[in-house]
Symmetry: C2
Subunit: 303 residues, 2 copies
Amino acid sequence: MKCKVCKDTAAVALRSHNSAFCAKCFKAFFRREVERGIHAQGLLEPDDRILVALSGGKDSLALMLELSLMGYDVTGLHVDLDIPRSSAAARGHVERFCARHGLRLIVKELKAEGLSIPLVKDALNRPVCSACGKIKRHFFNRIAMEGGFTAVATGHNLDDEAARLFSNTLRWDVGYLSDQGPRLEGENGFVRKIKPLWRLTEFETANYAFLMGIENHYAPCPYSPGATFSTLKGLLQKLEAAMPGRKLDFYQGFLKRGRSAFAREQAGSAEVLHPCTECGYPTSSGDRVCGVCRIRRVVREKV
Amino acid sequence: MKCKVCKDTAAVALRSHNSAFCAKCFKAFFRREVERGIHAQGLLEPDDRILVALSGGKDSLALMLELSLMGYDVTGLHVDLDIPRSSAAARGHVERFCARHGLRLIVKELKAEGLSIPLVKDALNRPVCSACGKIKRHFFNRIAMEGGFTAVATGHNLDDEAARLFSNTLRWDVGYLSDQGPRLEGENGFVRKIKPLWRLTEFETANYAFLMGIENHYAPCPYSPGATFSTLKGLLQKLEAAMPGRKLDFYQGFLKRGRSAFAREQAGSAEVLHPCTECGYPTSSGDRVCGVCRIRRVVREKV
């Protein structure tokens, strides 16, 4: 197969775009799709100061590298979850990646916060995934606010976003459907959150990471089998195989035509936010203690 | 496996309901689900005069039989499409079924209307399926209006409805999403349309038809491979296998929470209807000739 652009031997075939590219032209394609994703949804301005959440996986590292190459002002943030073996390996990948590319990195250790994930897991009577997500999002936002960053960027790709949309749609969860998207406005103590890779599939990001020589952490979290999400991603893969391009259409159609219907339905039902009496960051909780500070309390009592 | 109700040997296992039933209790389950579907969506009143569209397939015959056993006033309507071999076989099944159960039947022959489907197929420069559907719906409505029927019932089951909803959702077709459902109001020259089997899967209807000794037409239409719909039904089957009950949740959640959002989005954009200048039935077409009369013209010109 030949590259659609330069007719050199192709390195990557993309059925959804009915295309194939050599390594150089694929990188240009990747850049173009990130740019289109940024501009179509107004994710970034040239003077934004971006904090990029780096898990150590291919998506977040690919995002960090591409944004830096595009000339954006980026700083990495890695939250060290303190999970035996897994966390040290992930952190090592992030640190070596940032050192190699000369990129700024902030590391937040949950252990020092009394929020080591194994302790949280033992203290809670439910799966740790949602608590872990809540804690990470809290520190993404808090560190961005404290550091004067104007946006937090995460490496969610089209497969992640389409699977989440599929999940929200299957449950017709009007609250989540009203504001899912690659841009979540910054307001009331929250920094803007963006997902610049929303147009790119997992396959495309993996190819980019490979071609750019990114060494990434790829072991799944030992605490999270992620079964439901995998099922939905698998179904969307089958849909895409039968009808190439349908995955992006589904997500993009939602942004263009679907979301506004749910946003209107939700209008007026916005939660009232107050500062948490312990950490000062916004919470909708009636007792004015945010979810993360409540988890911290539970851990403190059990240890 | 044993029947969940009477502990007799089970004849049908239903994973989505986490149940198994003997033949007798399965028929009672089927009745209950039809009743729940009718009452939850206000499909029928006891004094309704129902015209049941009978294709000859298991779903429509099962619907006709069950509604008659429930004591509703039902009359069958079969539209003979005049497709070689296929149509005669389907009509035969419908006629024998109605004769056997002593049920009233109206047969509408498209040939006599100048709308024989093979002629329509030859006259059009596009797949015949949508034209065929339009013609059938036209006669369902017209014969119901002329005969003083108060509702037209079709045999669409949960798999049909969920696949259609999935298709509409994948495209975020707000117009279709705003009024999909088991009840379409009768107004402005349209009789109410209802789908009493919306809570029952294809598997459940097939079991009912088998247990009731219904002999049905099961050859697919020779003109319609139905590839897209089959793909979507297959994906929903896989979803159901991984998460039993999710298919009904998806459709029911849409009726409860999703549809209203789209209906509000569509409010005010209702089409203006006029009587067709040829047949008198309502049309939104600017030249005031309905789709069916236009097809009739094209066929007349080409033959």
